[in-house]
């Protein structure tokens, strides 16, 4: 790989969508001896024409050089703006530098290489490498990738791509007294074609890598890369809470720099080999916050008493924080010829991920007050004095140790013992959502008269909770707005760490020179902190069989794997210490609604990454040489996971695929290929729609509710909250067909090349429910039993005809026909009606300014000229 190694780093390719088209038009070497097959039985690609030694151009200074440039002109519909078409590629009509390369070599091994393509486009790429073969190489590169999120965005703001969004003329920051007028104004702005735009970002990656071969044994390297991402993407922004008010898609600015540095040394000689690598990644978000004007009048929900509704003009996001990562890794292996001809391999690695961004206040609105709370000097919710600390103090340390002992007791048998430890140790400081500069009024209901004091927890005293969504939301601050106690106010974050231990043997037995049988067992244990399950363990058994000498020179590779995951006790309410229930005990008075203490989640639901699981995986792959110039590859995979303890949540998932490849290469002048894949994946899940409350003293289907059993009864299906009559289930089924066909034919000196592929994807999401339960009779008429199928069809045809005009100049006629249709129910009717307000006098359900994915059809053609040096 040119710019990263196969062991670390990204950026292993310099190309774009068109590179493969150019490559495909190159002629095969007619002098090549014959078709040969890989040891598996797949045909090697016929080598391409290269100049004979004596024909390679040479300069007076002894440099041999060769190169080519392809330039031309594109016409037709290449300027299509559709986001789906533009994703990761950038075509346009007009002059086009498709690609170029220059290779220079000297007799002492010195070399210089230059390559590039799509000059001036957003998918352009360039690379330079020079050095001396087997001594040193310096590589420099630049690659650009567009990422187009939508071409149907309707902006309501100026300042796209910045951290400050100002509403366009005609829209009122904070809305007006008339929601009807606000809805009309937003709809009018969205309908204005001048406000329709694309949201995209461009990824630019610059890099350099130096490799030194000090000797046959010693090598060192160092690399640096800078990646810039700049642009904007849609981001949901909501006000209030309890479902939120008027979520609206705002354009989030993206202006990131990521610097990747790595350096290492490798050694391999005799019995020993070791690698040492250090790597760092420094991510810098140049836009720390996003402030946006809101076009609706938001009425604060319960929390605030002042200021009034019209004061909530601006919202603010804290965007992803800048962070750093460092990692050091050492790998060592030693052959042990005297110990059953074995070897031992050991790895240790340690790293850290950190961020310590300055925290921003809860709101930009100054002077917010609420019932039952007194703000002390310096404690305004719009100031950092309302925070329990000024910075994030996030830190995760990672550690890995891996050991493999490999022994060969006989020529036929290899046994390996493997052990692995991997840890993600989150050492972030817990964050407590408490305003230390605020106190409660009448804090103690048991004491006569008003008292003014904060509540203490974890060594901190103040008013607990956090004003939600720029202080427009209710329920975020304990006792604020409503002095009624509640057990579900979040008062601190949770720190998630994990440790993984993996251990097991594998055995590999050679049945013959061409067949082997493998078996392995592995126990994979993961311990997590602050999760529903403290420990899960996965026992995996795998059998494999390979035979390389079946009839028709066929190779069969097949395996079966069974995994059984189990774990410790599953705790639905594992985060009680992060909730206000830790400060305010559950009331015991008969008749008190204690739902906010008693219920966290359906007690019979299991998160699928933690639940018990029985998994079967079957892989079959057959490569066969039907004829010496025709090979076939056939593969199947069957994967099924069942979650036996998950009465609710994900119950089962499966994915199956069947694939067939055919390659026919009768001569250097002709090559035909085809492929077909079918995939199907299913996910089955179940849930219960909430109903009722958990009230002390009430007789429920599971008994009389008491403070002692409220949590159990409240979270148990069949209880007052999770009524079984409200249960529902859903099944999602993805089906995909992908087929491709291509051929290459040399006709005299001309080369015709064609590639065609068709992709069909369908997703059916069906659900079951009891009418009158999860959905009432009136709505069931509209709900039916499924949502409309999601569908995508895509067709891609690329054809080119290349013919030489002179020995150094060829012409290539290119034709591209590409289309896609896509249906996604999330975006049905949305492009034309972005303001979803069934009652125009009310705040909208959603303002969906991204119209979603759209169909496109493109025909473009071009004439390219290939000029050889």
């Amino acid at each position: 790989s040119p710019f990263a190694t196969t062991s670390a780093g990204v950026g292993t390719t310099l190309s774009n969508k068109e590179t493969s088209s150019v490559n495909a038009s190159r002629s095969a070497d007619p002098e090549w001896a014959a078709i040969k097959h890989t040891p598996t039985g797949q045909m090697f690609k016929w080598p391409l024409v290269v100049p004979k030694l004596e024909d390679i151009a040479k300069s007076a200074s002894g440099w041999e050089y060769s190169g080519q440039l392809e330039v031309g002109y594109i016409g037709g519909d290449a300027d299509e703006r559709n986001a789906r078409y533009r994703m990761y590629q950038d075509f346009d009509q007009g002059a086009y530098v498709n690609n170029f390369d220059l290779a220079m070599k000297k007799a002492d091994g010195s070399f210089f290489g230059l390559s590039g393509g799509a000059a001036g486009r957003r998918d352009q790429y360039y690379g330079v490498n020079f050095g001396r073969a087997n001594s040193w190489t310096l590589k420099l590169y630049f690659s650009e990738t567009p990422h187009v999120f939508t071409d149907s965005y309707k902006t309501l703001w100026s300042g796209l791509g910045t951290g400050n969004l100002v509403l366009l003329t005609g829209l009122t920051p904070g809305g007006t007294a008339s929601t009807t007028a606000d809805n009309a104004a937003v709809a009018a702005a969205a309908a204005n074609s001048a406000n329709r735009t694309s949201l995209s970002l461009t990824r630019k990656r610059y890099g350099a890598r130096l490799d030194l071969t000090l000797s046959a044994a010693w090598k060192v390297y160092a690399s640096y890369a800078l990646e810039e991402r700049k642009g904007a993407r849609p981001l949901g922004a909501v006000w209030g809470n309890n479902g939120g008010t008027a979520p609206i898609e705002i354009p989030e600015p993206v202006d990131y720099d990521t610097k990747d540095l790595s350096a290492g040394v490798t050694y391999a000689a005799g019995l020993n080999a070791f690698n040492f690598r250090w790597s760092s990644s420094i991510f810098d978000n140049k836009i720390d916050t996003l402030t946006f004007q809101e076009p609706y009048r938001i009425a604060p929900q319960g929390f605030t008493t002042t200021p009034a509704a019209g004061a909530y003009v601006v919202g603010r996001f804290d965007l992803t924080p800048s962070n750093t990562s460092h990692n050091a890794r050492a790998e060592y292996t030693r052959k042990l010829p005297d110990l059953y001809n074995g070897s031992i391999t050991a790895v240790v690695a340690a790293g850290t991920w950190r961020q310590n961004d300055n925290l921003i206040p809860y709101t930009t609105v100054a002077g917010i007050t609420s019932a039952n709370v007194t703000i002390l000097p310096g404690g305004d919710w719009s100031s950092v004095g309302s925070l329990s600390r000024p910075t994030a103090r996030g830190k995760i340390d990672t550690r890995t140790a891996d050991l493999t002992l490999s022994l060969n007791p006989s020529a036929e048998l290899n046994v390996k013992l493997k052990g692995r430890f991997n840890e993600s140790d989150n050492n972030s400081d817990p964050y407590y959502a408490v305003n230390p500069n605020a106190v409660y009024v009448d804090a103690d209901a048991a004491t006569a008269g008003a008292q003014t004091r904060g509540l203490s927890y974890a060594g901190l005293t103040g008013v607990w909770g956090r004003p939600l969504n720029d202080a427009t939301g209710s329920g975020g601050v304990l006792f604020a707005g409503a002095p009624t106690p509640t057990g579900s106010v979040v008062i601190s974050n949770k720190i998630y760490s994990s440790k993984q231990y993996r251990f097991g043997p594998t055995a590999d037995y050679l049945l013959s020179k061409t067949a082997n049988f493998t078996g392995s067992y592995e126990r994979d244990t993961v311990e997590r902190t602050n999760r529903e399950r403290a420990k899960v363990w996965d026992d995996r058994f795998k059998l494999g069989y390979v035979n390389r000498a079946l009839p028709l020179n066929s190779t069969l590779r097949t395996s079966y794997e069974y995994g059984q995951r189990r774990g410790s006790r599953y705790l639905t309410a594992y985060y009680e210490d992060a909730m206000s229930a830790a400060i305010i005990a559950m009331p015991t008075t008969v008749g008190t609604n204690v739902t906010s203490w008693a219920v966290r989640n359906n007690g019979a639901l299991r998160n699928y990454e933690l639940s018990d699981r029985n998994q079967h995986i079957v892989n079959v792959r057959l490569d066969t040489m039907l004829r010496p110039n025709l090979d076939a590859g056939l593969s199947f995979q069957f994967r099924e996971s069942r979650y036996p303890d998950a009465a609710f949540g994900r119950a089962k998932d499966s994915s199956d695929s069947a694939n067939l490849d055919l390659n026919y290469q009768p001569s250097p002048k002709q090559n035909i290929y085809s492929f077909y894949s079918y995939q199907q994946s299913r996910v089955r899940q179940a849930s219960i729609q909430q109903a009722g409350n958990v009230t002390i003293g009430v007789v429920s289907p599971l008994g009389v509710i008491t403070p002692e059993n409220a949590a159990t009864i409240g979270s148990t299906p069949g209880g007052p909250f999770y009524s079984l009559g409200n249960a529902w289930g859903a099944r999602s089924t993805d089906r995909n067909h992908v087929a491709g066909l291509g051929f290459k034919q040399e006709l005299g000196k001309a080369t015709f090349n064609l590639d065609y592929s068709y992709t069909l994807g369908r997703t059916r999401l069906a659900y079951q429910y009891a009418i009158g339960g999860a959905i009432n009779a009136a709505n069931a008429v509209f709900a039916g039993d499924r949502v409309p199928d999601m569908a995508m069809d895509a067709s891609y045809l690329d054809a080119s005809l290349r013919f030489p005009l002179t020995p150094r100049l060829s012409a290539r006629l290119v034709y591209r026909n590409q289309w896609e249709t896509i249906r996604d129910w999330h975006y049905r009717n949305l492009d034309g009606s972005p303001v979803v307000a069934p009652n125009p006098a009310n705040a909208p359900t959603v303002v969906g300014l991204d119209g979603g994915p759209m169909a496109y059809r493109v025909n473009w053609y071009g004439v390219m000229f290939q000029i050889k040096l």
Partner: protein
Amino acid sequence: QTRPTTPAATPALNGGATYVGEAVCIACHAPQNKQFTHTVHADIFRKNPKNELQQKSCEACHGPGSNHLKNPSDPANRPSLVGFTKEWGTPVATQNAQCMQCHSGGNHMFWDSSTHARNQLACSDCHNPMAKVSEAGLLKKQTINDTCYTCHQQQRAEFAKRSHMPLPEGKMSCVDCHNPHGSTAKALMKADSVNELCYNCHAEKRGPFLWEHAPVRDNCLTCHSPHGSNHDKLLTVARPFQCQQCHDNTNHQTNLYNAGQLLGGGAAPNSRMIGRSCQNCHSQIHGSNHPAGARFQR
């Protein structure tokens, strides 16, 4: 056949054969030499060898050739050389051991334990050291991705789905995430965990955030299909059902959102069934650094 951990002693296989020099080879194998001349192997062997083995050029890989010369066209004499094709029939372990003479350690340190080695893959199942077919790496196909797809057809189909990594567009390769030569992690990953791998490109999601979403911190693949998906953003299931696999909490998460709540669905439209679904409000789902961001809304 010897095990891959034990490099084959080629001369012993050849019954005491001796090196004849590449000029002798080229005398009969001119077409191969023409192609080979353009490879990095040729540049190393011929222009700047670092040891005696590399000076052997053709015979550095194929072994000493004197026994082959005794009867070069007789198939029965093929064991006198190491060949790297199905037709030649050299055992895979022997082939690979020849490559490991130079390519041990470094990126290849974990080859012996890799799933590719366990499945008896030869180096030449992916590489063609005789011809410069690919831009780099002496691959059997023109690109890394095309090389991998010859066996991993399933992944090729996944990259054709609605949302996918930019491999079909040539902006990424399989080797950005996987080390085909072996790794200590599952699926030949080039990092010690899934998240550590994803952060190579998605550094903005590395955090750690003030408010973390537990499954996000645990494993990106809890919600995303890494190669491609029928759904937006590589999700495994359409939202809101994706989120509702875990969230059956005390609020709107428990509702059965349905076709009647689509825009134009006939009943009241619902924001969870429109556009970004749950992320219309919980947009900072990968973590929030806002002091009020526990619900990932800021």
